[in-house]
């Protein structure tokens, strides 16, 4: 069976229903958590999965020998929050309720660079969300969860859309510079809202 066919089968039978259950499960967990803009779960698009399966390591070999088992974001959840401090608050709830096999703080390598920022987790799918009759071979064990501020979310959505626009080539140097500039502005906006909310919201949390 081709990888496309195998993934489509898995996506239709397992990934889509589990993503839907996962979204409802996380919404319930975070019901009383404030300043959450949205929670959305998705099954990875087939083309996106196949593109990722072709990723190569530095030595030129394929990065994933078993893409169906090794690509861990076949189900992805994103939680978008208002302020940078909310990322920590939501992370704390997520860590309490999910078993994490990996936690990553993604940020540009150097202080003078601006680009993708976000907190990523690889988490185990809760057993109760797995349909009783699910085929074990079709079932991934984990999903990826991202927590972002609204500005981080907006930047990553727009920059991803532009970078992978079908029919267009790679972004040129000037476009890349402009996208980095937009990332710097998103970072700056988060910093401003963090500082203002520090005085107006988060200073009171410790007193309650």
């Amino acid at each position: 069976m081709s990888l496309r066919k195998a993934y489509n089968r898995r996506r239709d039978r397992v990934l889509l229903p589990v993503a839907k259950s996962l979204e409802a499960h996380i919404e319930k967990l975070l019901k009383t958590t404030k300043r959450i803009d949205r929670i959305c779960a998705r099954a990875k698009e087939t083309e996106s999965f196949l593109r990722k399966a072709q990723n190569k390591s530095k030595n030129g070999a394929l990065k994933y020998a078993e893409p169906l088992n090794e690509i861990l974001d076949q189900i992805g959840v994103r939680i978008v929050v208002f302020y940078p401090q909310d990322v920590d608050l939501v992370s704390s709830v997520i860590s309490d309720y999910f078993m994490a096999i990996e936690t990553k703080e993604l940020a540009p390598e150097f202080e003078y660079e601006f680009g993708y920022i976000g907190r990523h987790f690889i988490l185990s799918i809760p057993t109760e969300l797995i349909p009783e009759d699910a085929d074990e071979d079709l079932l991934p064990q984990h999903f990826e969860l991202q927590i972002k501020t609204m500005f981080q979310h907006a930047w990553s959505e727009a920059s991803h859309d532009l970078a992978y626009k079908p029919g267009h080539g790679a972004l040129d140097s000037e476009q890349l510079r402009l996208i980095a500039y937009a990332a710097a502005q998103a970072w700056g906006a988060d910093r401003i809202f963090r500082d203002i909310s520090d005085g107006r919201i988060f200073q009171n949390i410790g007193k309650i």
């Binding site: 088992n69 309720y97 809760p126 057993t127």
Partner: protein, 244 residues
Amino acid sequence: MGLLFTMVGEDLKTKKNKLVVSRFPADSGILAEVDKGSLNVQLLERVFMKNEKSYKAVMYRNLTKSSSNWKGKAIDRQISDFNNPTSKYWIKDFLESDFSVTSAHGTTRIAEALKQAANDATDIDLKEELAAAGILLGGFSGKAVSIDSIISGLNLSNSAAEAIRQQVPSKAARAETFQYDHMIFRNIFRFKSVMISNGVMITADASEFDNVVDISGKGKIKKFSTSGEVVNQKIQKSSPKGIL
């Protein structure tokens, strides 16, 4: 001390790596070997299995060949405490592993199941039994349990056990071990409800119910009395099923 066996291999069906570790209590023994016309006798300490039915074992399977993430199933046949199906020492200290379900998740799962089962129950005896189970669970705090072990440990009636199982339909989820946290449980399962034959239902914090509601009377007829300031009231259009 004990005999430790480890086996590493590949699952023929899934082609995934498997690791099995088992540990048996052992006793000392004597080894006698004929060696160039003489008898070589050695005292070997702690080499004989004391009891083949008393052991700890774990089977791990790595999820992908390239991954360092291993998931396993552990068993502990050296403890008989129903509250404690697998010792924390074996999982956390010896194997340096952790339960696949967090304490908060596992505790929330049983609390919501019990709460929903109690709310759905129309039989007052069943409702009371489930409410009582919520109080008795305090004795499990800090222990490694599963929903299955809680059901058998509390010696619940068949109907109470079934009412809980219906709230957690996944057999695999009911069998998962987690460290029970009664503080989390109390934040979710807070109420005890009593329905009496005149249609009145009294609800209060389960752990405080007996302190705030006086119950008197002999036989089947009881008198319930309580006092306090009215802080909220509502009228339901349909016949009461849940909390008034």
